[in-house]
Symmetry: C2
Subunit: 194 residues, 2 copies
């Protein structure tokens, strides 16, 4: 597998930095090669083209991300606690890597239909994991039995995503991670007074 | 004001169609002129360049949108009902104009920092209106007194936005408008069982 070739990780990490700093459209393969400290030709041993780099980088990082989250969720904790862990994990990964946050919140939002379908295909993995938490909570009685899983997915992911994009647009200048418990409470209870 | 010049509206409407069908980066000014049935030079009487067209189109539509919503909100109804009207209005405007929906959900998500700051500056108008509903509900006791207005804003807007983007990515093939009451209930009560 190409993932195991020695320079693969080096190129992936360089691509995140170059895409975050230049924008996807200005991130030439030669810039990525330079950042990775490899020859331009080496990149093509691993990737077909720039689009392939973007999708592969996202797949690679998403794979690790979902694997890590899966482990966290394997603990015997309530479904509400799983929602918190999920938010915490998501905020944590992006708060500790400013370049990754710019790539996920701005550069992966490509409007070209073909490319976007490939990006969203990778995102699906994560959303299915979210669905599994929602279904579990629904079955064990923690979550509302009338829950529309699709809309609940949009609420949970949409709230996380909007919170992060605002933080990125504000130059990541306040503490994102500390917002996780408040975001979880909002998602659990909504805005109405009890 | 240039808004009152006769061909302004014609160009704005043409721009929405051309940007939706070609993508912002492939939407040449000459294509917009052709769609509007005006000479290329005419466009430059109204707009400096393509970026100016995108921002102006968004400002123009947002202006009408917010004005319309403001009227709806002037009615003497509860804050929860205002949230519903807001969702309904948002879904309705996009569900009745497929091109507008593609532009708002995909083409306005530009990653270029300068352009994005201008886009988000226009979006702010709408979010401030949302804040005013949240603050009102907070003051009249309908909404949770511990509400973090900023996070509540992210939840309400993020949920609406994610629901619409998913509908756009699914080729707008199901009824978006009918989801409004369920989305409102989710936002009011959250996912937890009562
Ligand atoms: C042609 C078609 C047109 C159709 C029109 C009509 C049809 C309907 C359309 C409606 C939908 C339109 C959707 C299109 C949107 C495209 C853009 C997106 O991608 S949207 C989807 C993606 N979303 C986005 O792109 C939105 C990203 N967000 C933003 O860019 C901004 O929030 C804003 C500009 C939107 C509002 O700004 P504003 O309200 O002015 O300000 P903030 O609250 O941000 O910050 C104020 C201060 O508070 C600080 N602070 C904040 N939070 C915290 C905290 N938790 N702890 C501590 N501090 C915090 C912060 O640092 C700042 O500090 P300082 O600087 O004063 O020191
Ligand atoms: C290098 C950095 C890497 C870092 C990685 C690690 C760090 C953390 C990262 C995590 C965050 C990553 C964020 C980056 C994301 C970039 C993309 C965005 O912009 S995200 C922000 C913007 N958001 C997006 O771009 C997401 C847009 N959403 C989508 O594209 C898709 O939902 C999906 C592909 C995500 C999931 O798809 P899937 O789960 O497979 O399917 P659906 O449910 O959609 O549909 C299934 C069927 O149900 C039908 N149906 C659905 N609802 C309704 C309804 N209410 N009534 C009736 N029917 C409905 C529907 O028509 C379809 O019918 P059919 O075709 O079977 O007949």
């Amino acid at each position: 597998m190409k993932r195991e070739k020695p320079k693969y990780k080096q190129i992936v990490d360089a691509a995140v930095i170059v895409i975050a700093e230049n924008g996807y459209h200005q991130a030439q393969v030669s810039k990525i090669a330079k950042q990775a400290g490899v020859a331009d030709g080496t990149i093509y041993l691993y990737f077909k083209n720039k689009e392939d780099i973007l999708i592969s980088v996202f797949q690679e990082k998403m794979g690790l991300f979902v694997e890590n989250l899966q482990k966290i969720l394997d603990d015997e904790i309530s479904s509400s606690e799983k929602i918190l862990r999920m938010i915490d994990n998501h905020f944590r990964v992006l708060a500790t890597d400013p370049h990754l946050a710019i790539v996920t919140q701005l550069e992966l939002r490509q409007s070209s239909k073909d490319l976007r379908l490939k990006i969203n295909d990778v995102l699906r993995e994560y959303l299915l994991l979210l669905d599994s938490i929602l279904v579990e909570g629904f079955q064990n009685g923690e979550f509302n039995k009338d829950l529309d899983i699709r809309l609940a997915r949009h609420m949970v992911f949409g709230t996380i995503d909007e919170t992060i994009t605002t933080w990125v647009m504000n130059e990541q200048k306040y503490d994102l991670l500390s917002l996780a418990p408040k975001v979880q409470q909002l998602l659990l209870h909504g805005i109405q007074a009890k």
